[in-house]
Structure formats: C-alpha cells, structure tokens
Symmetry: C2
C-alpha cells in the first residue's frame, strides 16, 4: 500500500490518529490535513502529523490520491459532494462515520464518474477528543467495517481495504444497512444508555460511585453534539434497539417486583453468557 498524497478532512482524534499511523507505517509520502479549527490544525502540524494544514477544504484536496473524511456524520456527504469537482481524476474517497446508510446513499446519488467513494467505519475511538490524543496504534488489531454497494468500484474498494489493513486493522465488509442495524445495538445504544444512566445520578450521591458506575457510564463523556448527529442519522435502528433494551429492563422490573428469584437469575445469566462469550 502506497499513497503519494493522503488528505485527512477533520483532524481530531480519529483524523490525527490516521495521520500518525500512516506516517509511522510509511503508508503515505505526504499527508495533508484540513480543519476549520485553526487550533486543532496547529496542534496537528506542530505534532508532526501533517506536512500541510489547510482551513480551505477544496484547495487542500486537489493533489490528493486518497481522502479520508473524519468529520461529523451530518457533514460528510455534503463535504464529499462539495470537493468532488476539485479532486484529481481517480481519487478514492472514504469516511469514518459511525453511521453509513444515509451517507452512502446521499453520496452515491450525486457522485460523478471522476472519483470513487467507499464508506468505512473503524470500530476504534475514545471519549478523548482532539489531535493531542492521536494514537498511531488506534487501529491496530481493530475492526474496520467497509460498506460497498452494487455501485461501488471494485478497484476503489480494494484500495480502501488495503489502506485500513496498512494501518494495522482487519476489515469486514457489510452493506450500509447491515452496518447501521448492528452498530445501533453494539455502539449507538451503549452511548445512549451511558448518557441516560449518568444523567439520573443526583450530585449528593457522586461520592458513592465506584468503578462500576464509572465504567458503565464511560461513554457519557463523549461529545454530545457528535452523538446527537449519530442518533439522528440512524433513528430507526436505534429506536428498535432501544425498545429491545427497555423490554429487557421491564423483564428485570417484573422479576424484582414479583421477588421472582428464578427469573432474576435467568436474566442475569443471559447477560453473563454474552459477556463470557465475548472474551
């Protein structure tokens, strides 16, 4: 895998980590970054993540062979469509958005033959934000889901697969909808649950929390604005997952209200079995 010029749009934790990983693994000759936030751009340049930093999106991407969009899910499609007239012919574009169906559909409906797009979602991240936390090993041994459709160019798909593998990840292919249905339950719902649980804790009990509460609510520290966009971009699957979860909570509620030892034990064993199988 070799890229002459890699462009990263949005130089936060994920974009910065892609830059650092690509640099350390010699994947790209030149790494260009774009960010509206001059401070993040400055940090990324001073940290050696970027060869060039731009605030202007279209100017930055003109020379890029591979462009990765690491911006909020409600910005990605618009940005991809805005830059495509300025891209080199044959440029391959991807993103790292936590939702895929809407983004991929919006882009494919309006993509010119000049460039190729393949959706990606690395299952890696942190509640930490910004390029200061950029980690060259963020993708190492992690899964990246890529979401080709019948329209996807086979060569571009292979190039994106090679790219993520070159950063140390393994790659799984799913349709955009399969991705969104699964991630609603494995990622979006846990974020919602963590935020809801943290949100009901009154301040006078803060000192009575221990590692259990802190781990269960770790994801509540995530960026509220980013997660608002993610829930809004995948509402049907998130609501479906949330309803399954509330129904499971109601089973717990009934078992406790009825003092039903066998039912409680079964519900707890069901959770433990999943947990044990996941190890």
């Amino acid at each position: 895998m070799h890229i002459a010029t890699l462009a990263i749009v949005g130089v936060g934790l994920i974009g910065g980590s892609i830059a650092r990983a690509a640099r350390q693994r010699g994947v790209a000759d030149r790494i260009v970054g774009v960010d509206q936030n001059a401070e993040a751009l400055g940090l990324a340049r001073n940290g050696g993540l970027l060869d060039e930093g731009w605030q202007n999106l279209t100017a930055a991407v003109t020379s890029a062979d591979l462009i990765v969009f690491c911006t909020p899910v409600d910005c990605i499609a618009n940005q991809v469509l805005a830059v495509q007239p300025h891209c080199r012919p044959g440029a391959v574009l991807t993103d790292v958005g936590s939702t895929k169906a809407r983004i991929v559909a919006e882009i494919e409906q309006n993509l010119s033959a000049n460039v190729q797009f393949v959706g990606s979602h690395p299952l890696a991240g942190s509640e930490k934000q910004g390029p200061l936390h950029a980690d060259a090993d963020l993708f190492l041994n992690r899964l990246v889901v890529v979401t080709p459709t019948p329209q996807t160019d086979v060569g571009a798909l292979q190039r994106i697969i090679d790219f993520w593998q070159a950063l140390g990840a393994s790659v799984l292919q799913l349709s955009p909808k399969e991705h969104d249905d699964a991630l609603a339950l494995t990622s979006h719902l846990p974020h919602l649950v963590a935020a809801a649980l943290a949100g009901v804790l009154p301040p006078h009990w803060y000192e009575l929390t221990a590692t259990g509460f802190r781990d269960t609510t770790r994801l509540a520290a995530s960026n509220p604005s980013l997660w608002t966009s993610i829930f809004r971009a995948n509402p049907t699957a998130v609501l479906h997952g949330l309803d399954r979860f509330i129904s499971q909570l109601q089973h717990f509620r009934d078992a406790i209200a009825d003092d039903d030892r066998a039912a409680l034990l079964t519900l707890l064993e069901q959770g433990k079995k999943v947990k044990d199988d996941l190890r």
Copy 2:
C-alpha cells in the same frame, strides 16, 4: 489498630483481599478464615492469606476479636446470629454486604449483649471472583460506608472505622436506608443495566462490538447468584432507580422519534456534565 485474631467468613475476592491487606499492613496477629468451599480455603491457605482455615463456622470464630462476614447478602444475618453464642465476649462483628437495611435490622432485632455488630460496605470489588484475585490494595483510597443505627455501640463503631482505615480506606457513615437508597442508583442499577444490555446482543453481532460495548457491559460478568440476592434485598430502592432510568430512556426515545435535535443535545449534555463532575 491492632487485632489479636481476625476472622474472615467467606474467603472469596473480598474476604481474601481483606486478609491480604491486613497481613501486609500488620493489622492482625493471626488471621482465621472460614469457607464452605474447601478449594477456596486451600487456595487462601496456600497463598499465605490465612493462618488457619475452617469449614466449620462456629469452631472458627471462638477465638476471634473481630469477625468480618464476606458472604452473600442473603446469608449474612443468619450467620451472624448463628455464631454469636460462640463468640468471645466483646467481639465486634461486621460485614461487607452490598445492601444494609435488611441485614442490620434482622441482626439488631436478635443480637445479644455479648457481641457488637456494625454494618459495613466497602465500595471496592471486581467482576473477578475468588481468593486467587485477592489484592492487598483493593481498599486503598476507596470509600467504605459504615451504617450505624441508634442501637450501635460507640466503641464498636470506632473499632470498625479504625479497621477499614487501617486497610487504606476512607470511611463514610450513613444510615442503612440512606446507604441502600444511594447504592441502588450508584451500584445496583448499573449492574442491572449492564446485564440487560449484554442480554439483548445477538451472537451474530458479537464481532461488531468494540471497547464501548465492552466497558458499558463490564458488570454483566458479575456472579448472577450474588446479584440476584442483592436485588432481592433492596427491591424498593432498585425499582425506584430503575423507573427513573426508564423514564430518562423514554425522553431519549421521544427525542429520537421526533428528530428533536435540541432535546437530544440537552439529554446528552446532562449525562456528560455528571461524568465531567465525577472526574
């Protein structure tokens, strides 16, 4: 703080860690352990945690000055009441149960003047089990709640406070009911939530989980039988906390169904604020 003979009833993770901490900090001259499980007892003796290990509860406690019950919450009151005729006069008894109101009430209704009891709950633990995971620093800088009542002997209370402080913990005094109300939300509810969330994940999506799902459901690995007893020992407060949580989830549900950006952002910011304040 100095104890001639410390007896530990139930030599699992918590009991084993008390033994190891007491040993390392020179808190007790002699440490005696009791467990029905011969294998756990053997591991604890071979690991140097205990000077003596017994399967017979009453025989083990006759020489003890301080006895700590580290058994499931539905066993503690019966065991305390069963051993009291065999204890030395003036022996001080405590426990580490995750619920307090029922245990303390049942014991105080039947306690002879021969011995003293003070309820305790160290906010420390792990989803790991057994004396092999015993950790001398498990209580270091952790909070232990002790739950005196108007009946509690002042000298015994001070002795129990000194004991936990000698193991490295800080001590907070709450009434048994205050303890149970708070822990329902800060500990029992997170266990329930983790088990419910793990329980709704279908096997074909296991590979699409990442650290977010794993952290949010960490507590689902806990012992189902122990947690069944805990929920049954504190049903009113757990149901109250669960209802608050389900109501918060319904607010999320409405905001997603209505595509209400402002409401979603407010809910996520509410969770993040608690998380940030907890740091």
